[in-house]
Amino acid sequence: MLGTTFKRIIRAGVVGFFRNAFVSLATMLVMMITLFVIGSLLFMNAALESTLDQVKDKVDINAYFLTTASEEQVLEVKTAVEHLPEVMAVQYISREEALVIFKERHKDDQLTLQALEELDENPLGASLAIRAKDPSQYEIVADFLEGQMAVAEGEQQIIEKVNYHQNKVVIDRLSGLTASIETAGLAFTIFLTVASVMIIFNTIRLAIYTNRDEIEVMQLVGASNWFVRGPYIVEGVLYGFVAGLFTLFLFYPLSIYMSSATESFFGSFNSLVFYTSNFGMLFKYIVGSGVVLGAVSSFLAVRRYLGV
């Protein structure tokens, strides 16, 4: 009995979907527009995130050691810094490596290289390049390093300087910018999602509004609420599913088309690579939102016309 009812509800929904072809098509087109907005937000957020990550990656602070500092001393500081919870990575550049880098950087500058040759000893100190997990955390790291600089009596100073204060302005701006872009992005996403939900809800409500007399008749004939509501929900799910699939496939040619443009604009972000490597996630969000929105909208819309 329950199985039969379920089967009939599904069948009535599918028949309704195909029979009201024009209404179905119009509803799905509107849903596609809103699902397209949701999909675009996924792309935008991914592009923004990868750009921000990239910029964040470029910011670090360096602790420069005196040439008198021994390798053990430097590595001791490195281990201590690595144990800070805010620190993501620490790169140790030995004195020899610093010299290689220096020579490489000045390879066209014979005068400087000659001056270097004049010295019997490597004038460069070792350094640590430190990356924090978040730009706002550099201050904590810098404070820690400066604490290390203030040496106890009798001990030798080993850290020459920490370049946090030179970088502070850039770091502060970047962390401010990241935070505000993320907040704005979230607000934008919420706004567009709410708008999309309302548009879809209203579209389905209008489609069902034309059937309000039928709903009344069904109830007079003795149909239970679920028997009336069920087929509309099935129809709503179908609208959402088909609109979601079409939207998802629409993003494919778009991703190809935008592929090189996005790569050159965002640097690390390529729309086609994102589409293919995140297909599952996109499917889940676009088709999933379609199905959920379709079902919920139908449910709410029919409920308005169910008296009893």
């Binding site: 009812t5 039928e214 109830q219 007079l220 004939v221 003795g222 239970s224």
Partner: protein
């Protein structure tokens, strides 16, 4: 009293403090009767029918269908009640998006009938109302008389103990009116109680059963074997 199907016990109905749509109505309809209810528009005929279907409830008094007080029925019991009552309306009230066959099958589907029964019963009632060749048509493709016959087929396919017909001939020409009345009489002969409201004197006279005359929410005449008089 045990064979009474419908009982109105001093039923009054007020809409938003206006004058009584029904005023202390007492009515008793027995199993197998054919009752015509006549009266001007606004006499309270539709209110009376809606109370039988538990679409409306009395402001005072009680409506008993098969000894059950409609006011004490749960949502599910109201649905059950409606499945025992066949209804036919002036404006047919078919489901436009479903074919003739599906409209009739729908009444059986909601009652939880099996597919085999539906496949037997629907063609059978389509034969009774002489529409077997229109099974796959949509209501909008039929004439008024044909639509009303579909509505009657839908009403009787569930083998109701009671058939309610609210101005079933109101939108029909005389020939279709005659056909509809004949079908209703045939259904009554087969044992179904019929409650009919109408303006049409010809209909009442050709049925020739019990006539209840209403005016301003009151029953002013109740003649068995009566004629239409206003």
């Amino acid at each position: 009293m045990s064979d009474s199907l419908i009982r109105f016990d001093k039923v009054s109905k007020f809409y938003n403090g206006g004058p009584a749509a029904l005023d202390a109505v007492d009515l008793d309809v027995k199993h197998g009767e054919f009752v015509s209810i006549v009266g001007h528009s606004g006499a309270g005929k539709s209110t009376l029918l809606k109370m039988i279907l538990a679409e409306l409830y009395p402001s005072e008094g009680a409506v008993l269908i098969d000894m059950d007080d409609t006011q004490h029925l749960s949502k599910g019991e109201v649905t059950q009640l409606r499945r025992k009552i066949g209804t036919v309306f002036q404006n047919f009230r078919l489901i436009d998006s479903k074919t003739v066959y599906e409209n009739i099958a729908f009444a059986l589907e909601v009652a939880g009938m099996g597919d085999e029964e539906i496949e037997v019963d629907v063609p059978h009632v389509l034969g009774l109302v002489d529409l077997h060749d229109k099974a796959e048509h949509f209501p909008k493709e039929l004439s008024g008389g044909e639509q009303q016959r579909v509505a009657i087929a839908r009403a009787i396919v569930i083998q109701p103990s009671l058939l309610i017909a609210d101005e079933p001939t109101g939108n029909l020409d005389p020939i279709n009116t005659y056909e509809v009345v004949q079908i209703l009489k045939k259904i009554n002969d087969l044992g179904t109680t019929v409650v009919l409201t109408t303006h049409n004197k010809g209909v009442v006279d050709s049925v020739g059963g019990r006539v209840v005359t209403m005016d301003a929410g009151k029953i002013v005449r109740d003649d068995s074997g009566g004629q239409y008089m206003l």
